[in-house]
Symmetry: C2
Subunit: 166 residues, 2 copies
Amino acid sequence: MNASKEFGMREGERAVELPATPDAGVYFIGRIQTPWKNRKDCPKNARGSDAVCTVELDPRYQDGLKDVETCSHLVLLYWMDKAPRHLVLQVPGHLGAPHGTFALRSPARPNPIAMSVVKLLGVAGNKLSVIGLDCLDGTPLIDIKPYFASTDCVPDAVVGWHRRKS
Amino acid sequence: MNASKEFGMREGERAVELPATPDAGVYFIGRIQTPWKNRKDCPKNARGSDAVCTVELDPRYQDGLKDVETCSHLVLLYWMDKAPRHLVLQVPGHLGAPHGTFALRSPARPNPIAMSVVKLLGVAGNKLSVIGLDCLDGTPLIDIKPYFASTDCVPDAVVGWHRRKS
């Protein structure tokens, strides 16, 4: 897969040489079913759509869902397997200037792990119905966590560079 | 390393056989310096301490920090490399009854990736000073993301099983 070909490389972007070997391995524990088959169809962010998506967990891990149905919201981690991993400066298409990868939620990052907070509609067997995703259909799932408002919610958080753009 | 020996296995817990090989690889992009050298010293959760911790990014990725200093809060992902990965039902020591791994924030999970929302105090070179961590000193860092209140903050989120315990 030539990921960088699909994503291209814009003026002002910068790439680094990645280590020769990874330090640890992740298991894909399921897949996420969404309505979006191509990158251009995906919402710009996770609040850009009310589409109901389905998280299908590998049945091997199904016992791990006990009590998940009592959660109103979940944190999902998933693997953006189409994204290049070597960019440290990126120019998002709708923003026009380079930003550091770690100041962006772009899928292109050394470890292409996306984090989304989703609303849980229901659990049936090994399938979860959720709202609040923006990823491609078939994206590999790597974790499900309960969302705790006490530790995860910061209403007055600010992303300064982004606020100045909008 | 016999991780399950340190963590033990309590009555009511259940383990699964993991896949023979991982599906993807992660790079450790830095290390987190905290005051806690042993598990028993770590705070129970990320709001359990106001200790200032240092995130030291591999200099290779330092350009990726551009504009991070304008963020009041960050999402950190890190690798809980001491945790067993095969538990699907767990009995947290202070709770007493088994819960599904995906209803817990325990480090023991198929992909031992922790997510914490931290307050950023400052950036100096490749080092970030933050408040809001509860992990062991030397924990490998795998990602830094800007925290957007618009998508990441859900003040009325509920973890039902946990509320009933407290």
